[in-house]
């Protein structure tokens, strides 16, 4: 068993609200400086930059989970994490099929597809900032059918969060974990954020700017940097677990 330092929620320059400075190579460099062992790339409703960050991570010895921050029709954000790019792309295809609209860069921001050397490859034309027409149950079910993890984003925030938008977490919605933002220390979240008892908790940077990386992370005790191990760590089974500081 080893302790892995994990940030499950980092955007890139592909998110319209993500800074130009969030290129794949720089994200890995900054993650390395902050001692992160595992990061997940979760742009809004897309995984098109995840592969580049995964490739950039290899040389630095950083494991990169390809993921997405999916916006449900209730306008609740859900982080979806996968082991392989192919699986993330299957989820992305489902999201794209339910995501209407076209981006207006002047209004929402540019959506830059980049390679592992930070070079611009293209621009995504979809309205990535928008909401899908998929409901929360469908999203979580689809993530699970692809062996991914479904984490409710920033549950302590008033906007785009399950508690903010839906008042409380439906007990039959099987999230693998809830994410609290960097504003709430993970060690005290249970006492300060209402309505989150009974779920595994993580914290993540939700970085949109390069200097955001490192502002929140968690330590997980696992045998290997995989989604299956992280699932066990969230459940606290077989000696795996989330280490609170």
């Amino acid at each position: 068993m080893k302790i892995f330092r994990v940030d499950t929620h980092i955007h890139t320059c592909l998110s319209p609200c993500g800074d130009w400075g969030m290129g794949p190579r720089d994200i890995i460099e900054r993650s390395r400086e902050n001692g992160l062992d595992i990061i997940a790339i979760c742009d809004h409703n897309t995984a098109e930059n995840a592969g580049a960050v995964m490739r950039a991570g290899v040389a630095a010895g950083i494991t990169v989970f390809p993921g997405m921050e999916i916006c449900s029709k209730e306008e609740v954000h859900v982080v979806a994490l996968f082991d392989t790019l192919e699986t993330a792309q299957k989820m992305e295809a489902i999201v794209y099929a339910h995501l209407p609209g076209e981006n207006q860069p002047a209004v929402w921001g540019e959506q830059i597809v980049a390679d592992e050397a930070n070079c611009v490859v293209g621009e995504n034309q979809r309205l990535l900032i928008g909401a899908t027409s998929l409901d929360l149950y469908a999203i979580v079910e689809q993530i699970h059918s692809l062996d991914g993890l479904a984490i409710a984003s920033h549950v302590d925030r008033p906007a785009f969060s399950i508690i903010g938008n839906l008042g409380f977490i439906p007990p039959d919605l099987p999230f693998d974990a809830l994410e609290v933002s960097c504003r709430v220390p993970l060690s005290t979240a249970l006492d300060t954020v209402p309505g989150i008892r009974g779920y595994p908790l993580v914290t993540a940077s939700d970085a949109h700017f390069i200097e955001d990386i490192g502002r929140a992370w968690f330590d997980a005790r696992m045998a290997a940097p995989t989604i299956a191990e992280l699932r066990q760590a969230l459940r606290g089974t077989d000696g795996r677990g989330i280490v609170l500081h």
Binding site: E74, D135, P158, I163, G164, N165, L166, G167, F168, P170
Partner: protein
């Protein structure tokens, strides 16, 4: 005004919770962030929202609402409909957008908490 009269007067469609049509309406509220509605909706109100998720029924129960009105052509999820039937909370549908329907309800005397309180 009770819910049955509201349905007739504003030509709403009943999607669920028919057993609650005799509820008397006591004020109105508009909102799509359920956390806000839980805090601010008047007890006994008719609530205008676009959210069709089943949590709306729980929020309606919490505020002892007379009815939920889904505006803009939005529809309740299947589970929402089932829960509303169980809990006798009418869910009413309209193609009108929230602003327009709220204006008409207000003109008909169904007013919000602050107005009612003077």
């Amino acid at each position: 005004m009770n819910v049955r009269e509201l349905v007739e007067k504003f030509r709403l469609t009943i999607a669920a919770g028919e057993a609650g049509l005799d509820h008397e309406i006591n004020g109105g509220h508009c909102g799509d962030l359920l956390s806000e509605v839980m805090g601010n909706a008047p007890i006994g109100c008719a609530w205008l929202t676009i959210q069709g998720h089943q949590n709306i029924v729980a929020v309606a129960l919490l505020r002892e609402m007379a009815a939920i009105i889904l505006t803009g052509g939005n529809k309740p999820d299947v589970m929402t409909r089932e829960r509303a039937d169980q809990e006798k909370i009418p869910i009413l549908l309209t193609d009108a957008l929230t602003y327009d329907l709220a204006g008409r309800l207000f003109a008909a005397g169904i007013v919000g908490e602050k107005t009612r309180g003077g």
